[in-house]
Symmetry: C2
Subunit: 251 residues, 2 copies
C-alpha cells in the first residue's frame, strides 16, 4: 500500500503536540499489526511536526479586533511549510484552532486538512451513541465546533454553563499550560462530575488537547468513558498516511 | 533572550522521536520557570520534528557493504530540509545514529548538531561520578560512542558481554520496536541486574532511545539510578533554543 507524507500542526500547546505524535505513532503501529505487517522503524510513514508559536486561539475568538494577535497567519505559514515538505494530509493538534479550519483548507486545497470534530462524530455515530458531554475551551463552545459536527450525524451535545466553562478555562490555562496538573484535574473533574450528576452517564468528549493531559485518573470519574478526540484524529491521520480513506473504513 | 528555531531528527524509532519532543517541551517549561517567565504556549521556541524512514543503524554498522541500506543519505536529506526551515540546532533522537555525527556535522557546518554522549559525559563529570554502566545497541558498543565521550572527561564505562548485548538487542527489536514492552523490560532488566551484581551500584546509562520506553519500573531495579541520555540531550537543545551555550551553563 502506498504511503503518503503527513504533517501535524502543533504548538497549541506544545505538550499536546508532542502527545499527538505519540498517539499517531501508536495508531500507525496498530494499523501495521492489523494488516499483519511487521512493526519496524522503516514501516512508519514519513511525518513532520511543526510546533510554532500561535497567538491564543480562544483569546482571538473572544476579541473583536483584527490584527497581530490573530492565529490565522502563523497557522497559514506553518501549513505552507508543511506543504513544501511534500505533506499531503495534515492534522491540527488543537480543537479550538479548528475555528480556522475552513480558511486554512481553502488556502491549501492540495492538502487534506482533517477535522477533529467530524472524526469524533463519525466514530460515535458508528457506535450508535445518541449524545455526549463536551469539555472544551470557551473558544470551542463559541464556534459550536462539536455542536455542529454532532448535529450533522443526528447526535445531541451537552455543555456546561458559564461558571463551568470558566472553571475549565482555569484548569487549562492556570493548570496544564503552566504545568500544574493537580489543579487542572480538580477543575476538569468538578465540571465533569456536575454534568454527569445532572444528565446521567454519557461519554465525555475531552474537546481541548490540554484536558487529556490531566483529567484521566481523576478519582470520581472511575468507570466513566473519557473520549480523547486526538486519538480519533491520530487514527484518521494514520489511515491517510497508509493510503486509506477513513470515511469509508471507519463507518 | 533571543530564541532560535531548533530541530529534532527522529524516526529512529518513531516512538522515541515522539518521546523526545515531550522531553524537549518539558525541558523548555523548566527553563522558563527557572528564569521566572510565565509558561504559556507562545513562550516555547519554534521547533520541528522530522520522522523519516532511516535504514537500521546497527545493521548498517555491522555490515561491510555500502549502498542503499546505509542510513547516512536519508539523515542528510532530513537535515537539509530542517536547515531549509531555518533550524539552527538539531538533536538526533537515536544514540546509534551518532555514529554518523561527524559526517552529518561536516556537511552542515551552519547547524549546531548536538552530540548525546558528550552531553551525558559533561553532566556526569559535573557530578563527580567516576564510572557508569552502558545499556545500548551493538552498533553503539561497536562505535565506542560512550566509551570515548566518557574517556574524554576521565570516566570509565562498564559494558555487558556478548550474550548480554544480544539480550539487549532482542529486547529492543522484538520488544519495544514491535510493541511488546513486557518482553523488552525483562531483557533489559536481566542485563542490568547482572552488571549491577558484578560491579556494584553504578548509574545505568540507557544508551538506546528504545530502552527508557520499557526499563523504568522494572521490579528488581528499584532504587537504582536509570539515566536517560535523551533527557540530557533535550535539556541541551532547550538551552540552545533559548540562546544559551550549554557547555558553559551546565558544567
Amino acid at each position: 500500500m502506498a504511503t503518503q507524507v503527513v504533517g501535524i500542526l502543533g504548538g497549541m500547546g506544545p505538550a499536546a503536540g508532542a502527545d499527538f505524535v505519540r498517539l499517531f505513532v501508536d495508531a500507525c503501529a496498530r494499523l501495521l499489526q492489523a494488516r499483519g505487517d511487521r512493526v519496524r522503524d522503516q514501516a512508519f510513514p514519513e511525518h513532520w511536526l511543526a510546533q510554532v508559536p500561535v497567538p491564543d486561539r480562544s483569546g482571538a475568538l473572544l476579541s473583536t479586533e483584527a490584527g497581530a494577535h490573530q492565529p490565522l497567519e502563523p497557522m497559514l505559514q506553518a501549513l505552507g511549510r508543511l506543504a513544501a515538505l511534500g505533506v499531503q494530509s495534515v492534522a491540527m493538534a488543537c480543537n479550538t484552532a479548528h475555528a480556522w479550519h475552513g480558511r486554512l483548507q481553502a488556502r491549501f486545497p492540495q492538502i487534506d486538512l482533517l477535522h477533529v470534530a467530524d472524526e469524533v462524530a463519525r466514530a460515535l455515530r458508528a457506535e450508535g451513541v445518541p449524545q455526549a458531554i463536551l469539555l472544551a475551551t470557551t473558544g470551542t463552545y463559541q464556534t459550536r465546533l462539536y455542536d455542529e459536527a454532532l448535529a450533522r450525524v443526528g447526535m445531541g451535545l451537552i455543555t456546561p454553563d458559564a461558571a463551568g466553562r470558566e472553571r475549565l478555562m482555569h484548569g487549562i490555562y492556570e493548570g496544564v499550560k503552566r504545568g500544574d496538573l493537580a489543579l487542572a484535574q480538580r477543575c476538569f473533574a468538578e465540571v465533569a462530575q456536575d454534568l454527569l450528576d445532572r444528565h446521567g452517564p454519557q461519554p465525555l468528549i475531552m474537546g481541548c488537547t490540554e484536558i487529556p493531559l490531566a483529567l484521566p485518573g481523576a478519582p470520581g470519574l472511575v468507570g466513566q468513558r473519557l473520549l480523547d478526540p486526538a486519538q480519533y484524529l491520530a487514527q484518521a491521520l494514520a489511515l491517510r498516511a497508509y493510503g486509506g480513506r477513513p470515511a469509508a473504513q471507519m463507518s
